[in-house]
Symmetry: C2
Subunit: 459 residues, 2 copies
């Protein structure tokens, strides 16, 4: 044993790359990161504050402004080397009075849960009443021809595919209906578009989300109905194709508002001009508290830096936590961050985003890495597997950090378990009580462990 | 499709060992198991029935008898080759009227949530009122000496260690207090034992569970208080060591009752006399609906056989689903099953149990396998990793199948994500709504995939 230790010591002097002894030391520090997060973590109480004291915080709203103040104060309390705001103009869309919607089947009038999609225009004050055409996709819509669609409401009813293991893939496979459904429907002369909620389950909570209008087409109102309502409407239409639908929504796009990204950093001890970013987005949809989307990413990112401070880990490179503004409907914060990074000649090495919920960590998705960089990161597996981080592979980084890609930054997406995410995503039930404390804290520690390894063992 | 089947048949004739083509064919079948479970699975609706129509089903209760009938009927509806009951006598402990408990601090009387532990005796009708001695463990208790403990209530307050990654390890590390606390306290002359709930979180739900008395010591009442109550009591004792505690419980052990294991099987096409078991336990504690413990294991095990039937997978060996009775307070069903297996000269190859909740699957724990058997099973990893089953290693099989160990059966425990389990375990909130449909269905398919591989590719 003594011989082995001597050998290891010799190796650690003469071998500059990862050695057995080094891996052991890293393993101890990673263990401490997890123990501190699970034993004395702050992320859960921070999340309670953000979600239950402030709540939903759509860009441009008073709550979003409160969240900026909250975030800056919290960072300042951590004793970071620098805390600052970045100014950014953001869209300001408001929902207005609660929506109303009915299925009108002959004399039957059945109320259904409906929410306006973000950026949509309102209906006329008296609402829209029209016959409904159900389609599964844009091809089917186009094949109908304009005459059939004129004056109708188009009902996009293709579900997220439950058979897919990866719920993000299922979400991606159905997302065009929400994003572009109104635009496609307007091209065919329709007067409104309703979309089956992008949900992995059947329930009564409609999911909002962003949508875009094209140029040169009419701006028709777009809304999502709950999955249960979509099932009911589809069934009713089969029984009576003359079924009508009524909806009324009161949303409005106001003038852009000034807002902020919130940034805090611990200066690097060796290369302070080289930056590693960890972040999430501070804004959320207005329907609920923005807990899993993306309160959890915010508090986990802040916890990464707190863990470093608390455990006395002095990073070689500057570690920066960023609370991005406006991921949900514009990505203006992410764009501004990248723009300023370029303008200020900042060298960013990595950016890690947590924006897939605060569930049990499974791994990381790596985007924009050279093959040797990817395999270098994958070598961390041995140290991360004991914590369930078994999925480290190519993948998407995150919406807010994507604008950094052209600067050659390696983008990393934190990947938690994804089976529950699309039950809550963009709905009224994305609330604090849906977040499990241990799962959240495991995630924060996982992110800290990866940042620790990236900082320490750069390629 | 027909060609594919022919090809598969040819392959299965000419290539006895695992080949690339074979792995590909297996991979397709595993994919189908997951797609069927996620797309058309029955486990979730079965669980809804068991938990919300029957509910809590402690051994010997009317509900447990109902669950046996429900289970047998359900198996018969599946068109299995054989469905039968195994008779077994089980303990019959009843909680009686709801417990009452108070912290008595001078003139303050604070009501706290308390539940009797399973098998405990009642308090006298007027309850027990006594001063409280808080200890962290048995060593500390013994060091106090009998004089200090005489006539007191001993309060075991060592929490589950939040810093442990594996919550089952944390549970194991605190479990002696619940199982043997009363016995140890009685040895010291105490009149009652109260235990901090074995919970991974702070809340107001006390966790029941089994306890045992020793021989030759007084049978003193044993109960668990919620973790919040434990924190409060500990704080109060620090302020006022003369604080008293009152509790009254009305539980009783009645005469043993006849009950049953419920068994269904698909006969093996090649070796019908060699058996692979998959199961969970049908009984649950009385406080709630027994959803994660162990309704999920029951419906997942049944779903394994349904998936085989529905997809037309004819196993080589007999696959048997077993709903074990009485895991919670006696394991009489598990013991009876093993006893009958021996008596009937049945050859059991593997037994797989799901009794760690219906959460996202992570892997399997293998017990009693020879090294070459373990490494053979671990070779399935490549086929199972795409479904998140990355943790296939030595581990514990399950309480109900443990009695099969002396017959040389390889025991396998299904290992789901464990971060939430000990919030619900043995409490009033172990209810249907805590189970996520996708997570449950992923688990059922994972179990089916492993059984498929074990059956097909035996060592």
């Amino acid at each position: 044993m003594k011989k082995l230790i001597t050998l290891l010591l010799l190796l650690s002097v003469f071998v500059p790359t990862q050695t057995y002894a080094q891996a052991n030391a890293d393993s101890l520090i990673i263990r401490k990161l997890f123990e501190e997060s699970l034993g004395n973590g702050k992320s859960y109480e921070w999340l309670r504050e953000l979600t239950t004291k402030i709540g939903g915080r759509l860009s441009g709203s008073a709550n979003a402004a409160k969240a900026v103040v909250w975030g800056k104060n919290l960072m300042e309390q951590q004793g970071f080397d620098r805390v600052f705001l970045q100014d950014v103009m953001v869209p300001h869309w408001v929902r207005g009075a609660k929506e109303e919607a009915y299925i009108l089947n002959g004399k039957q009038k059945i109320s259904v849960p409906l929410v306006a999609l973000g950026s949509s225009v309102a209906t006329p004050k008296k609402g829209i009443t029209a016959e409904v055409i159900e389609v599964q996709n844009f091809l089917e819509l186009r094949a109908l021809g304009k005459e059939k669609c004129q004056g109708k409401i188009i009902f996009f009813n293709r579900p997220m595919d439950a058979k897919k293991i990866n719920t993000f893939e299922a979400y991606g496979g159905a997302g065009d209906q929400r994003r572009s459904g109104a635009n496609e429907a307007a091209k065919m002369g329709a007067v409104g578009a309703i979309v089956r909620s992008l949900s992995s389950t059947l329930n009564d909570y409609p999911h909002t989300g962003s949508m875009n209008y094209g140029t040169g087409v009419a701006l028709i109102p777009a809304a999502a109905i709950s999955t249960n309502a979509a099932e009911l409407l589809s069934k009713t239409l089969k029984e009576n194709p003359q079924t009508q639908f009524f909806f009324k929504q009161n949303c409005e796009t106001l003038a852009d508002e000034p807002s902020h990204n919130v940034v805090g950093e611990i200066k690097g001890s060796e290369k302070p001009d080289e930056i590693i970013v960890v972040g999430g987005h501070l804004d959320s949809w207005d329907l609920a508290q923005g807990a899993h989307d993306d309160g959890t990413g915010i508090v986990q990112s802040l916890e990464v830096l707190r863990l470093f401070k608390t455990l006395g880990i002095r990073p070689k490179h500057t570690i920066r936590v960023v609370f991005f503004m406006n991921e949900e409907n514009g990505v203006k914060g992410g764009q501004k961050y990248a723009e300023l990074a370029k303008q200020n000649n900042e060298k960013h090495l990595f950016a890690l985003e947590s924006d897939e919920g605060g569930f049990t960590p499974r791994g990381f998705g790596i985007q924009g890495a050279k093959p040797e960089q990817l395999s270098h990161i994958q070598k961390f597996s041995k140290l991360l597997t004991p914590y369930g981080l078994t999925d480290i592979d190519k993948g998407s980084g995150g919406v807010d950090i994507t604008p950094l890609a052209p600067q050659g930054v390696v983008l990393i997406g934190f990947k938690p378990d994804a089976h529950r995410y699309f039950e809550y995503h963009h709905t009224a039930i994305d609330t604090f009580d849906k977040v499990n404390q241990r799962e959240l804290e495991m995630g924060a520690a996982s992110m800290a462990a990866l940042i620790y390894l990236l900082d320490k063992d750069m390629f």
